[in-house]
Amino acid sequence: MAAVEELSEPDDLTADEREAVQHQLFRLADDEFVVAERYTEWQVKAPTLESDLAFSNIAQDELGHARLWYDLLQDWGAEESELIWERDPSEWRHSTLAELPFDEGDWADPVLRSYLYDVAEDIQLRALQDSSYPRIRDRVGKILGEEDYHREHAANWLERLCEEEESRARVQDALDRLFPHALTLFAPTDEAVEERIDELGIRSEPLVTMREEWLDEVIPFLESLGLSVDDAELPEQYDVHHSQLELPEHTGRDQSHTDAWFDLHDDFTHTYQELGRTSAERIMKDPDDE
């Protein structure tokens, strides 16, 4: 790939550059925040105390990563409260995989979801390690350092759940339901802006390449566990080397969402609204000062 020019400081970006950086940041930040918001529903409900603590800890990690990305979005004047508590739900850009609700007690879902999500996150973060935007590049390493545990946790659980027929069937159910939504992890926010993200070198791999890399990793692993990805409601024209995979009705990335998202948004902004807040308490140092 041709060497790309380093982007300027936040204030010196052109409007087009700024838009591209912001789209990339909202992809990252919204995914992390919303997936963590869903994960925390398992707090005190996971199958054992140990799995509860491990999964809650992963949720905390993801919230911490969201904080790092939202912090970069504040470079253009927005407050954290405006980005999280006051932003209209129809403006969020997370993948629909992050927002889907869990069925009560369906532990196979969060395990599989975190596997699909964390493999994708790893691929996307690695494509940012050489980002032309230094503020993104500088934060990737810190986040990658926490991701190995997430993937190991998810893969270990999946291996064990797939040892027996009954629990493997539950994982298969979750796979059929989640797989099309997992594909939206690589869906464009806006075709033109995504192209610009690539041209400017904000990330080193286009979405299509990253999706193929992801498919090449997750499909063989899932099949090795006796799961069938063919039954996972894959679009008919499914072809890993084709750029036009059929996505679910809502991809999230383009700001279209399932109804579940609006319910979730109501839930997590409820207290903020009820108390009539206009700003959020900051209890931690600015990540730039850490």
Partner: protein, 109 residues
């Protein structure tokens, strides 16, 4: 299945027992122990071992150190010149351990 967890704070330290986790196998036990026992305190290494593999002998089974005076075992009879500080420390450690042990035996009988 219960796994006992031992944490080492820094390289070279002993692994000290710090609690346990429920897990079906060693790999999951390590994964859980990492969060439960290695997250909040400085940790260099963790060991897990199945609880049933641990052997135990306690005060119900034996009188540790015996019941008679064993002060002849102390390394205190060679002090014709000033002892090295390590020896001094070791002696005072043994003396206070012996006092505690006696107190325990007397308190228990």
């Amino acid at each position: 299945m219960i796994w006992e967890v031992f944490r080492q704070e820094k390289s070279g330290d002993y692994h000290k027992h710090c609690g346990n986790v429920h897990a079906p196998d060693r790999e999951m036990a390590l994964l859980f122990a990492e969060v439960q026992h290695g997250r909040r305190k400085p940790t260099n290494s963790l060991w897990v071992t199945p609880q049933k593999e641990i052997g135990e002998v306690d005060t119900e089974d034996t009188a540790f150190g015996g019941t008679t005076d064993k002060s002849y075992r102390w390394a205190m009879t060679y002090n014709f010149e000033a002892a090295a500080s390590e020896v001094e420390e070791s002696e005072s450690e043994q003396a206070s351990a012996e006092r505690e042990r006696k107190a325990q035996i007397e308190g228990g009988s």
